[in-house]
Amino acid sequence: MSPLTPEQLAAITHYLDRLPRLTPPLKEELLDHLCCAVEDQLARGASFADALAQVQGLMNENEVDEIIHSLPKNRSKMIQALLGVLTISLTGFLFPWPAATPPSVVPDTAECPISELPALMPPLVVDWAPPSHCPIDMGCTEDRTSSGFGMRIHPVTNEEVLHRGIDWRAPLGTPVYAAGPGHVMQAGQNGQYGNYIRLVHDDTYQTAYAHLSEVLVKVGDTVEAGDLIGRVGSSGASIGSHLHYEVIKNGSPVNPIAYLP
């Protein structure tokens, strides 16, 4: 496939320049996408004019607005927009995956081999509520916590830092529970956090549990709300046995108190 000439590249760039809400770096990424689409059309014998017209139809102002609207926002207060209208079109029912199976975690009931499965595409991501199961048995109201969310003087380093979660002082070995259903994204040593677990609940929410004495899950495990995942300790940068708990929304920590019963 021969690459685009500078003039052709300029024509495509010029088209994207005319879409006012499109800014780098998304513009750069969509430019590459459109160029690839044009190159494919040219390889099939279309004229550049026809190819350009086709991709302009694909990527019009509305489509670009949808993409921009659906991107994850940087400020944690903004609610993540839904994916927008998916105009995925199907023309049949068959959806055969290649025969290779993943390296681990195969379901127990194997009487129906993958190649014989019907082409059903279920919605895997249900609308989870934010994680709201209390991760510790001590009661989840604000007055039971020993350190709240927000700016504070760190007890070990003495610097003013953002405390990214809340702390509950608790005896060594106190059970720690998953705050919501999901799966384990990280489990083990994590610097100042000590023994650390991070759960992914859905597209928006993750929770983290730190300074544990024991980590009872491993990466890839599925958990339900209330499952035992670890035990309280004082590992990492900690001056006493406590659970440090974070709720992470769209990549930024938020005050967990808002989500607890």
Partner: protein, 111 residues
């Protein structure tokens, strides 16, 4: 014509799986591969794909790198270690769900 609701939740599973298989991919390459694997029956639109890729990046499941190709910058996506784990988990969940639905709906497979 099928309900797009059915497909919405699986886009992340599809992208993570492809990246697990192929290593490094850019957006257009992902749409091509899906078209190829589905024998032309699945067309991912940019409005579906790019928000998904950016969400995966924000969640730390993929990392990105850029390269100059054919006069423009191309952004490649790759699974992070957390992404590797997620890919396996989501795929297993999908397999399990379809097995269960197969039994519940008593679907015939001779289509």
């Amino acid at each position: 014509m099928h309900d797009t609701e059915l497909l919405k939740g699986t886009l992340k599973t599809i992208v993570l799986r492809l990246l697990a298989e192929e290593g490094r991919m850019y957006g257009y390459q992902i749409t091509q591969r899906v078209r190829e694997l589905s024998a032309g029956e699945l067309e991912l639109t940019e409005g579906a794909l790019y928000p998904t890729l950016h969400k995966l990046e924000k969640a730390g499941l993929v990392t990105t790198e850029k390269e100059r190709v054919g006069g423009r910058m191309r952004k490649y996506y790759r699974l992070s270690p957390q992404g590797q784990a997620s890919a396996t988990t989501y795929l297993a969940q999908f397999q399990h769900f379809v097995l269960v639905m197969n039994r519940v709906l008593q679907l015939k497979t001779d289509q």
